[in-house]
């Protein structure tokens, strides 16, 4: 069985930096990392490698310059083969374009029995590439999976949505996306990291998969820091009286909001 894990290089949003004056993000100063959920997708695939002996391949879209470390990270975790679809400015590619690149790759280099993705990316958190890809390929699917179990040749996939728990029983081929609840990703040992450095990945120009006119960019006109207008009244509580004062202010605000 072959398993494909598409991974993305995301901005680490916990380290976002904005220009104080213009409110624009200073993206060059923000580290780019593999998203937590992508790491869980790789881990889910690697657990299948251990239990079922599947071959784990991964793919990312980007440039050698920016994505080399990401590719090495995936190898260090224990993946068998990596592909980099070479394209610039990948963070402006629209979701359909990303799905169609992966879809075309699967048609050309597949078949893959299982595709595992992270449920959402760290920076744009749209969660739409996995469902778009499932529709493109016509695969059965389960998204936002937080538990994967295998019973014979049936995969049991559990996902929690707003209204309850959905449990899917699927047999390959299928596509799933996993959350950080699905597993705890392994941390590669130093020897695996060193070994990964010697591994090669295949680089394919994006136009081998889709034509230039099919590459659609998101037409972003501006990005600005989102400041919610808030009062920012701060009460520091050091003494017993401060506790009373804080409680008094909370109650006043609850009255103002017509809760009390």
């Amino acid at each position: 069985m072959r398993v494909l894990v598409p991974i993305k290089l995301s901005y680490d949003i916990n380290q976002m930096k904005y220009d104080e004056r213009t409110g624009e993000p200073i993206l060059d100063a923000v580290p780019r990392v593999m998203g937590d959920m992508d790491r869980c997708a790789l881990e889910a695939a690697l657990q299948l490698k251990e239990s079922l002996g599947v071959v784990v391949e991964f793919i990312s879209i980007g440039s050698r310059r920016t994505h080399n470390k990401l590719m090495m990270d995936a190898y260090a975790m224990g993946c068998d083969k990596g592909y980099l679809i070479e394209a610039e400015d990948t963070n402006t590619l629209d979701a359909y374009t990303v799905s169609s690149i992966i879809g075309k790759f699967v048609e050309k280099y597949g078949p893959y029995d299982i595709i595992i993705m992270g449920a959402t990316s760290q920076d744009t958190h749209s969660s739409v590439v996995p469902p778009a890809l499932s529709a493109l390929l016509g695969y059965r699917a389960a998204f936002g999976v937080d538990k994967v179990t295998v019973e014979g040749d049936v995969f049991i996939l559990e996902a929690t949505y707003e209204d309850g728990i959905y449990r899917y029983r699927l047999t390959p081929p299928f596509i799933i996306s996993v959350t950080t609840e699905a597993n705890t990703p392994r941390i590669p040992k130093l020897k695996d990291i060193l070994k990964a450095r010697r591994m090669k990945y295949e680089v394919l120009p994006v136009n081998d998969l889709i034509s230039k006119d099919e590459v659609r960019k998101i037409n972003v006109t501006s990005i600005k820091k989102y400041v919610t207008p808030r009062r920012r009244e701060i009460i520091e509580v050091d003494s017993e009286e401060d506790v009373d004062k804080a409680v008094y202010r909370i109650i006043e605000l609850l009255k103002e909001a017509e809760i009390l």
Partner: protein, 297 residues
């Protein structure tokens, strides 16, 4: 503009109506998975597609393929919820349209539209130009409009649901953060499960609901849902947090609250940046005193 909406629950009718106007729609169709919702929705739409089934990806793919055989849409609207994103994502894959999620506003500009969306965990707003066809996933917010009366027909879509899907509904507990005026939220500053009783008590006294941050639900299993980008998006009058640090992924679910109150012992906690009232102190001192005062009336 021919618009198709994915109606997950009835609260979306008013929100989508606002977008119907903003998009200058002329033909309104809805898609739903629930018979009762279909009946209600048909009073305000021209057409309602009912796929009477538990949510399942493969079934929705087939249902949409069937609908797209006869009908074409310029815009698809869905909630920025788990299912809304899946629905719009599948639609995008089938039709190649563009898609914007986490939408918080829209304006017309000539023949196209300018859409505002949250990005980077809700720390920034991106302004994006789109022209139809496109899909939007919308974040619950202040926009609402009274729905117009229309008389839609309900069209049943018969497709086989994925044979292997089973659905276990969440227990109805009466605790619903998405429809309460006040939501009391516990973060990792709450040290033991027993202490959640104080959080629930405050919700009870104020007639509101309670919830948690993701670690309390996902790691400790103290609750089965949480507030945030990967959980519930809420818009109560008051969001009051105890021991919540205020990381972007969490705050994105709470930003639409009218007032934000935060109790945290760390003066540097990011939640204070976006609080109307911030109390820097030990929640174990403040919360019991607050309960005490409220009980005394």
């Amino acid at each position: 503009m021919r618009i198709l909406t994915f109606i997950e629950d009835l609260s979306w009718i008013d929100i989508f109506e606002y977008f119907h106007s903003a998009l200058e729609g002329v033909e309104f169709s809805a898609f739903t998975l629930d018979k009762n919702i279909a009946v209600e929705v048909s009073k305000h739409y021209d057409k309602v597609f009912l796929y009477d089934s538990a949510f399942n990806v493969y079934g929705i793919q087939s249902a949409l393929r069937k609908i797209l055989n006869g009908d074409k849409f310029d815009v698809v609207l869905a909630p920025s919820s788990n299912k809304g994103r899946m629905f719009a994502g599948i639609y995008t894959g089938l039709t190649k349209c563009s898609i914007v999620t986490d939408v918080i506003g829209i304006e017309r500009e000539g023949k196209s539209f300018i859409v505002n969306r949250l990005v980077y965990g809700g720390t920034a707003i991106a302004t994006i130009h789109v022209s139809s066809p496109f899909s939007l996933c919308i974040v619950k917010g202040g926009y609402k409009e009274k729905p117009k009366n229309r008389f839609g027909e309900i069209i049943k879509i018969d497709v086989e649901p994925d044979s292997g899907v089973e659905f276990r509904p969440r227990e109805v507990t009466g605790n619903d953060p998405t429809s309460s005026d006040i939501v009391v939220v516990a973060g990792r500053g709450i040290k033991k499960k027993e202490d959640m009783a104080m959080i629930e008590e405050l919700a009870g006294i104020t007639g509101g609901a309670w919830s948690v941050t993701r670690p309390l639900a996902a790691d400790y299993r103290w609750a089965d849902q949480w507030i945030g980008i990967s959980g519930l998006i809420i818009s109560p009058k008051v969001y009051i947090a105890f021991g919540v640090s205020g990381q972007p992924h969490h705050m994105m679910g709470a930003r639409a609250s009218k007032y934000v109150i935060a109790v945290n012992k760390d003066p540097e906690a990011p939640i204070f940046e976006e609080a109307d009232l911030g109390i820097v102190g030990d929640l174990y001192k403040i919360l019991p005193r607050l309960l005490d005062r409220l009980k005394k009336g």
